[in-house]
Amino acid sequence: MTVAVKFFASLKEQLGCDGATVEIGEVATAADVWLQATGGKSLPPNVLVAVNMEYADQNAAVQDGDEVGFFPPVTGGAE
């Protein structure tokens, strides 16, 4: 199946790209998608995961055509 991957903020800079399209087996979790997209890098513990723009666990199953976003803790708003 095909999954779209997106990286944001400091994670995007560390990985040197803002995302990828990955081909992966039919049964896969968000964490599997991370490994495939990063060439086997371990998933940092503080990284947040979203599947189709909704927060998800790294063990959440992904489906063909899904978009998986990985990003650092959020820091919006103001004082």
Partner: protein, 146 residues
């Protein structure tokens, strides 16, 4: 109800005035409006900050903001909500966020605006990168609001 992510300058008080003009039903019904405006500071963690870039996750950010507003509307008795958040390049003094909540009585407006602001900082995908004399750095932590 209006939720917006904006890449151009935000003038919160003008924004508020035009929103109220466009919603005349608020006059009379709303006994209370609670408004929060957050702006960029010129220092952070002991360093002078000369600029900031705010990044977001297009699509998800708007969705999360909308979800928070809908949750607030379910939890409190509110008449209307307006949330506008900046992205892109900012300078010290630039407004970053406007949260406005209208309700019949003050308690709901105060509580909902405060809650929305805290949730905005902790769950909505926005990331700040500061420019300091030493270079650019990502902001890693939020200051607690309570």
């Amino acid at each position: 109800m209006k939720v917006e992510v904006r890449a151009t300058p935000l003038a919160p008080w003008r924004e508020l005035a035009s929103y109220e003009e466009a919603h005349p039903e608020l006059a009379g019904g709303a006994g209370a409006a609670s408004v929060f405006v957050g702006s960029m500071r010129d220092s952070n963690a002991g360093d002078s900050v000369t600029g900031m870039t705010l990044e977001h996750y297009p699509g998800m950010t708007e969705r999360e903001m909308l979800r928070l507003c809908e949750e607030a509307r379910d939890r409190w008795s509110l008449l209307d909500l307006l949330v506008v958040h900046r992205v892109g390049a900012l300078l010290p003094g630039d407004p970053i966020v406007l949260v406005a909540v209208w309700s019949t009585h003050r308690r709901e407006a105060f509580e909902a605006a405060r809650h929305l602001m805290e949730q905005l900082k902790s769950t909505v995908p926005f990331w700040k990168q500061e420019q300091t004399d030493a270079g650019r750095r990502w902001v890693e932590k939020n200051t607690p609001g309570y």
